[in-house]
């Protein structure tokens, strides 16, 4: 804080033409506003720059057909607000219950205009500091050893106004349309501008380039009026319900798959767009050919001299001419405004549309520059939900917490509990936490054990990729081992071409929980904080390095992990064995007996009964415990004081059924198996 004041006064004193803020946020979309909310709540000096006159300018245009594919669930049967966020993919995080998206729309797939209205309300109701009509066109660095990160960020807007910031949060999303260049690409219409009126496509034959949700959404819109639609893309179609990735093709958009597979003229093709060429004939029809043929052709000749594939292969699939070709290839991050000194590099392979960032969301090239929102999706691309509102609202909060610790000495929020609450606190979180659920395998709850395992500290939703830096990043210490609570799908279950409906896909028994396929909680135990090196040696499918012990809570059909025997008991045993203690609950009477007959007491008695918080229990409960053989009723043993409580008389056959053979529990009701 002292530093902040110092730099603040420095700027004021110099009285130059720039305006200073501790934090600058570029973009007033969902993630920019989300970041602004947290900065505002923490009382930080920040500003949000928005080139449009209102927030959420992307949503003002896109999706073109206006239907959001983020679900907006009105009812879950539960009142738990945290739990309900698991099924609300549009709201941003705030303390204000008015800013829940279900108050804005009753549609399960709401209209994009509603999102724009919601974002406007979010900014205005929370009085977020957004400077509209300010397009940042250039970002550069000013070295200064006094600065938080060794440099200031200098931002220039369209009016040459310069802004100086200590920390830069980039929330610009990905908005630059992906284009491909091939001969004839000038005949291609872009998704950005193509007509959304189906009438305009009546009786036309259409080729769509791309295979994402925008391509299918476009097809869906005109499916009923076209002659037929063909769709070309390099990769196979990836279905969201097979990959568990919301960015893949969602069932709501997949009408074309239906008509293709039912042979209703529409179709899908695989091919590299780079090899493509489009030739227009005299009638204005567009013919598909290959770049290869064009390169060999006589340049002076007309259309008739161009070789078409069907000249050689007379049943070539796309030999029919098209009326229109539409490009729906998605968007990429705008790298153009950053000075080279910021080293904003595109990612590799299929992540090249995103800037390179660390798992802490900080740029790999520039300290103090954090990427938020959709543009930060390289961390969990094709895995989790970090590229979508329902995911990045949590990662943005995580970034804010990292910043609070780094710049203001505010450690990561945590709660200290006695060890008796260990099982409870995990069960509570895995049942209601929405951040863990949405950002599965990316955000994790961390339990830091105190000395002698008598208490623990609970940290929520920490980015698991920077686990090794936990002490530096959170300001919390982890000298006595830790648990990491994370949600995972079964490895090898999800995938673009996997059968996710095979028989016995769901595990029902706790002892086979590690084979669970659907999203379920996993708890890793480490005696020591993993090092950077260990993090680097993670197995490819593992979010975390090899633990000292691991526990899977068996997947649950209802995602309700509160069953005493199938969920809580195995978890307790796992925790007990990691900590080498006994975490059972005891009635006061048992604690009384232990207090008089043992020098040491189990934690539940030590932290409860001894501190006059013993669980007396009602008579009925005591009777149940006695019947279960877990509590001895000394009032009844007057006459047979020496008899072991569990012995029983019996016939020859009964005898051999030895008395220590425990009563087997009833078979669990197996969930989806019995569907």
């Amino acid at each position: 804080l002292g530093l902040a004041l110092y730099t603040g006064s420095l700027c004021a004193a110099s009285g130059t033409a720039f305006l200073y803020h501790d934090y600058c946020v570029i973009g007033a979309g969902p993630s920019g506003l989300q970041a602004a909310y947290f900065l505002q709540q923490a009382g930080r000096d920040y500003i949000v720059f928005e080139r449009s006159h209102a927030p959420g300018s992307f949503f003002a245009l896109y999706p073109r057909h206006r239907k959001l594919i983020s679900i907006n669930k009105q009812y879950t049967g539960k009142s738990n607000s945290e739990f309900n966020l698991r099924h609300d993919w549009n709201s941003l995080l705030s303390h204000d219950p008015r800013l829940l998206f279900r108050r804005y729309s009753r549609d399960f797939f709401p209209d994009a205009d509603t999102m724009v209205r919601y974002l406007e309300d979010f900014a205005s109701l929370l009085e977020l500091k957004v400077q509209y009509n300010t397009a940042i066109i250039h970002v550069t660095l000013e070295r200064d050893e006094q600065a938080w990160n060794g440099h200031y960020f200098l931002l220039t807007d369209q009016d040459r106004q310069i802004y100086k910031c200590s920390s830069l949060l980039v929330a610009t999303g990905t908005w630059v349309p992906n284009v491909v260049n091939f001969p004839g690409s000038e005949y291609v219409e872009g998704y950005e501008t193509v007509s959304i009126n189906p009438e305009d496509f009546a009786g036309q034959t259409v080729l769509i380039l791309g295979r994402g949700n925008s391509a299918f959404e476009t097809a869906e819109n005109i499916l009923g009026v076209t002659n037929f639609i063909h769709m070309v893309s390099r990769s196979r179609v990836r279905l969201s319900w097979a990959t568990h990735y919301v960015g893949d093709l969602r069932a709501i958009n997949n009408g074309l798959l239906d008509t293709y597979q039912l042979k209703s003229l529409d179709g899908l093709l695989e091919g590299d767009l780079e090899d493509l060429a489009i030739v227009k004939d005299k009638k204005g029809k567009l013919h598909i050919t290959l770049r290869f043929y064009l390169e060999n052709r006589n340049t002076s000749a007309g259309i008739n001299s161009i070789t078409l594939p069907q000249d050689e292969l007379d049943n070539f699939a796309t030999r029919a001419p098209y009326d229109r070709v539409i490009r729906c290839l998605g968007w990429k991050f705008d790298f153009s405004i950053y000075n080279r000194s910021l080293r904003m590099m595109p990612g590799k392979g299929n992540k090249k549309k995103y800037p390179q960032i660390k798992p802490s969301y900080e740029s790999r090239g520039t300290r103090g520059l954090f990427v938020l929102g959709t543009a930060s999706h390289s961390v969990d691309f094709r895995k989790s939900a970090g590229g979508f509102i329902h995911g990045f609202r949590y990662t943005t909060r995580a970034v804010h917490r990292l910043l609070e610790n780094r710049h203001h000495g505010v450690p990561w929020p945590s709660t200290v509990y006695p060890i008796t609450q260990l099982t409870n606190s995990i069960i509570k979180r895995v049942n209601e936490a929405s951040g863990l659920y949405q950002m599965f395998s990316v955000l994790a709850d961390i339990i830091l054990l105190r000395e002698n395992a008598t208490a623990f500290e609970y940290l929520e939703e920490y980015p698991v990729g920077v686990l090794a830096e936990l002490e530096v990043q959170t300001g919390r210490k982890a000298p006595n081992g830790l648990f990491v609570i994370i949600m995972e799908y079964g490895r090898n279950f999800s995938g673009a071409d996997k059968d996710v409906f095979y028989y016995n896909r769901a595990v029902g028994e706790a002892q086979h929980a590690w084979q669970s396929n659907f999203l379920h909680p996993v708890i890793y135990y480490y005696k020591h904080l993993p090092t950077e090196h260990e993090m680097r040696l993670r197995l490819p499918d593992w979010p975390l390095p090899h633990p000292d012990a691991v526990h899977h809570i068996v997947e649950d059909f209802l995602t309700d992990w509160t069953a005493p025997n199938a969920h809580i008991l195995p978890l307790r045993r796992f925790l007990e064995n990691c900590l080498s203690t006994d975490l059972r609950n005891f009635f006061a009477e048992s604690c009384f007996l232990f207090a008089f007959t043992r020098q040491k007491l189990p934690p539940f008695c030590q932290q409860g009964y001894v501190r006059t918080q013993g669980l007396v229990g009602s008579e009925g409960l005591r009777r149940h415990a006695v019947q279960a053989g877990l509590l001895e009723d000394y009032a009844l043993t007057d006459f047979s004081g020496d008899r072991p409580p569990d012995s029983r008389h019996g016939s020859q056959d009964q005898l051999l059924r030895d008395h220590v053979i425990p009563v087997r529990p009833l078979q669990h009701l197996v969930n989806t198996k019995d569907e």
């Binding site: 009142s79 409870n424 090898n492 006061a588 020098q599 279960a628």
Partner: protein, 803 residues
């Protein structure tokens, strides 16, 4: 080789000899001579000499002279001829020994030809002696010899019966007897009492050799069931010495008779195959014994005893009879053991609270008296009543639900009490409120005063304690008393009247007008202790009069215990709030309390040794007075003197059993230091419980002159059972898991699911029956038709995918 004269003169009375009279060495007799020479040694063992008598050429005496003499051998006992054998019956050593012994043991070995003969013999033997019945396909065989040799040794103990009649085999219970092989049965006729029933029989399983018969007869002679009272590892019986396993049936006092019957039943089944021993768990203190009901000790050295849990006697028999099955059962058993460890025991709830609550979950609680709060109603509800008690709980959490039960009891106790509203808020439904109200643990009870502060309940989760807390916290603490009469009434427990049934100790602070600092501290302490202690304060001008009456000078505390007429006065020297809280807490504890489950924690906090008088019911006036004297005396600083009513606190019996193994005669006085050393001393029963006796005993304890009855276990509380070792399961199934390296081939887009990574394959390798069935049944998984499909794909690829 003797001459006839020499031979006959050498014969001794009673000694048997076999003689062959030979003339010249005739070539035909040569093989026979060799055999008879070979048998000499064997027969020697039975005291039978073998002679070759050389007949002079001219000898025409009885043996030498006969024409056919050379084709015969003669058996003599003394000089008496017993039998003459044709040499072709004595074709080898076996036949020689068999026939010779058969002839000699004419009485010991009865030869029978008919069933009737056999039954006659059997019936005659019943109740007298046992019978060995042997069938040999022919006499003169090795088996025949073995039987005869056995009869030579055991003939006086058991009656031997021999037959060559296959028909008699049918009588042995074998319908399709293999007539070509010899059989031997031991018939237990000695114990047979029913003349109508044949004797119980034990067939010998092994081949009929002398050694086997010997073993068999030895085993038949051994006791049926051996009783054992030592570590099974140390036990040795004839069975083990003979290379047979020994089966232990693990018994205990309560089931001894039944176990004995089981053991005998099993022993009969296993007779000749294994020994059976009956082992009392009570006498042998081995933990493993508690987990199993049968143990198997094999004769092989160094093989540890196998402890098993078997379902019925059949399994015990199989265990022994079938070697392969033994291995299998053992493996199964081990697996099962493992599974037991991994599955069954682990699956079983061993948390008494969780189990009790889940057993009770179907019962509907009478919750009508308790208002359900929500996020929306929480704040408005707090404003409606003077005091709102809120139970914050989680509907899935067992301790919360246990407390909720007590809470309903509180509600019914407090029904109709004005100014108190009992409510509950489920944090699983409304996490926001719980976070805001700083509820970090389940359950939490807070009492909200309208528009004012809230108090967190920190007492026992019991009906009485919570009721009393709610009632006591309704009155301001401390209560300001206006007149000296009120103060007196307060000390008599009359004020405030509605609380008279809840409090036991009243604390009255008396302050002069000059002592405002102490008074403020007292008021602050009252805030902290609100609900736990009743506190009053008096600071009017005439406070001095009050203090003078009780011989204290203000600031001072006056303590009135319920049930006691006297008022104690304590000067207030310390003025800090913490000290005052501590002091009031301490002062309000009883001097010689009855210790109960609910109040023990208050005394535990003193961290002193306990001197407890265990009593079955109320203690006598005399004991009470003596103990009170002691408690009030100088020992008060050193220990907590208390008594325990086993009728009210039955768990005290558990304490006594832990100390003395059984409950000693009551009352019993025990000194135990829970906080250091954990030693337990018992006041000598012969001494009367009187202050001087106890004091001198305590002195002796202090001097280390007494031996502790027991010492409390210092053991840590370890996990009761192991957890599922998922890491190990993964490592077993997915070999790459333990590798800490990144030498794992990365996913490539070309990879297809069927031949995907090891993980995938192994995960699917453990399918249940259904998966297997599905795999077989579903199209596209079997191999049939693969080739055409591949071709089709290729074709499609060319036409379709490559643009």
């Amino acid at each position: 080789e003797l001459s006839p004269q020499e031979y006959f003169s050498s014969l001794q009375p009673g000694r048997a000899s076999l003689a062959y009279f030979s003339h010249n060495v005739s070539p035909g007799a040569q093989p026979f001579l060799e055999q008879i020479e070979n048998s000499a040694e064997a027969l020697q063992d039975y005291g039978i000499s073998v002679m070759k008598v050389n007949c002079p050429k001219e000898d025409v005496s009885r043996y030498c002279g006969k024409e056919n003499a050379i084709r015969k051998a003669y058996l003599f006992r003394g000089s008496m001829l017993i039998r003459e054998f044709p040499t072709d019956a004595l074709f080898d050593v076996n036949s020689i020994v068999a026939n010779v012994l058969f002839a000699l043991l004419f009485n010991e070995v009865k030869y029978v030809e008919t069933l009737a003969d056999l039954h006659n013999i059997e019936n005659a033997l019943k109740g007298k002696s046992n019978m060995v019945f042997a069938y040999v396909p022919a006499t003169g065989t090795a088996e025949h010899r073995a039987v005869m040799e056995a009869a030579f040794v055991y003939g006086t103990v058991h009656q031997f019966v021999l037959t060559t009649e296959a028909a008699l085999l049918k009588d042995t219970g074998n319908d399709e007897p293999d007539v070509s092989s010899a059989r031997l049965l031991f018939c237990h006729c000695q114990q047979a009492t029913d003349p109508a029933q044949p004797c119980r029989r034990t067939a010998m399983e092994q081949a009929l050799t002398m050694l086997n018969i010997h073993r068999h007869l030895k085993l038949m002679g051994a006791p049926l069931v051996t009783e054992v009272a030592e570590d099974p590892e140390k036990v040795s019986t004839i069975h083990l010495q003979l290379g047979l396993p020994l089966v232990f049936i693990l018994s205990q006092k309560e089931t001894y008779e039944a176990d004995r019957r089981t053991a005998e039943f099993v022993a009969w089944q296993l007779l000749g195959k294994a020994g059976v021993a009956l082992l009392s768990r009570d006498l042998v203190n081995l933990n493993i014994l508690l987990r199993s009901n049968v143990a198997l000790k094999t004769p092989d050295e160094g093989v540890p005893i196998k402890y098993l849990v078997l379902e019925d006697t059949g399994e015990v028999i199989t265990l022994v009879e079938d070697k392969n099955k033994v291995e299998q059962i053992q493996e199964d058993e081990e697996e099962e053991d493992e599974e037991d460890k991994e599955n069954n025991d682990q699956d079983i709830q061993d948390d008494q609270v969780v189990e009790a609550v889940s057993r009770d979950k179907k019962r509907e609680l009478p919750l009508e008296q308790i208002l359900v709060l929500t996020e929306d109603t929480f704040h408005s509800a707090l404003l409606e009543t003077a005091r709102t008690v809120v139970l914050f709980y989680a509907s899935w959490e067992a301790v919360s639900l246990a407390v909720l039960q007590s809470y309903t009891e509180v509600a019914s106790h407090l029904k109709g009490t004005g100014g108190v509203l009992l409510s509950r808020l489920n944090c699983w439904d409304w996490p926001g409120v719980c976070t805001k109200e700083n509820v970090t643990q389940f359950p939490t009870i807070k009492i909200y005063e309208k528009g004012e502060r809230s108090v967190m309940y920190d007492g026992m989760w019991g009906t009485e304690e919570l009721t009393s807390f709610i009632m006591l916290s309704r009155v301001s603490c401390p209560l300001k008393l206006a007149t000296i009469e009120e103060a007196e009434g307060y000390l008599r427990g009359e004020l405030p009247s509605e609380l008279s049934s809840y409090h036991h100790t009243s604390v009255l602070g008396v302050f002069s007008t000059a002592t405002s600092e102490a008074r403020e501290a007292f008021e602050e302490a009252g805030n902290i202790l609100s609900g736990h202690v009743t506190m009053g304060m008096y600071f009017e001008d005439d406070a001095l009069a009050l203090s003078r009456k009780y011989a204290v000078s203000p600031p001072a505390l006056l303590l009135a215990r319920s049930g006691s007429q006297s008022v104690e006065g304590i000067g207030l020297s310390k003025q800090s709030v913490q000290d005052m809280v501590q002091m009031i807490r301490y002062a309000s504890l009883d001097i010689f309390p009855e210790i109960t489950v609910q109040n023990l924690p208050h005394f535990l906090q003193l961290r002193k040794p306990f001197l407890i008088l265990f009593s079955d019911g109320d203690i006598s006036q005399m004991e009470s007075e003596e103990m009170l004297k002691l408690a009030k005396g100088r020992t008060r600083q050193a220990l907590v003197a208390c008594w325990l009513n086993l009728k009210r606190t039955p768990v005290g019996r558990g304490v006594l059993k832990a100390y003395f193994a059984t409950v000693p005669s009551l009352p019993v006085l025990v000194w135990v230091n829970l906080h250091a050393g954990g030693q337990v001393f018992k006041f000598p029963a012969e001494q009367t419980i009187a202050e001087p006796n106890i004091l001198s005993w305590l002195e002796k304890l202090k001097a280390g002159l007494e031996i502790p009855s027991s010492t409390l276990s210092e053991e840590d509380w370890k996990p009761p059972l192991p957890a599922y070792d998922f890491l190990q399961m993964m490592e077993k199934a997915v070999p790459e898991v333990p590798l800490h390296t990144s030498h794992h081939h990365r996913d490539t887009p070309a990879r297809h699911p069927p031949e995907s990574s090891g993980g995938d394959v192994t995960v699917r390798e453990e399918p249940s029956q259904d998966t297997k069935a599905e795999k077989v049944g579903s199209p596209g998984r079997d191999l049939r038709g693969t080739a055409p499909r591949l071709a089709a794909r290729e074709k499609q690829g060319r036409r379709h995918s490559e643009l």
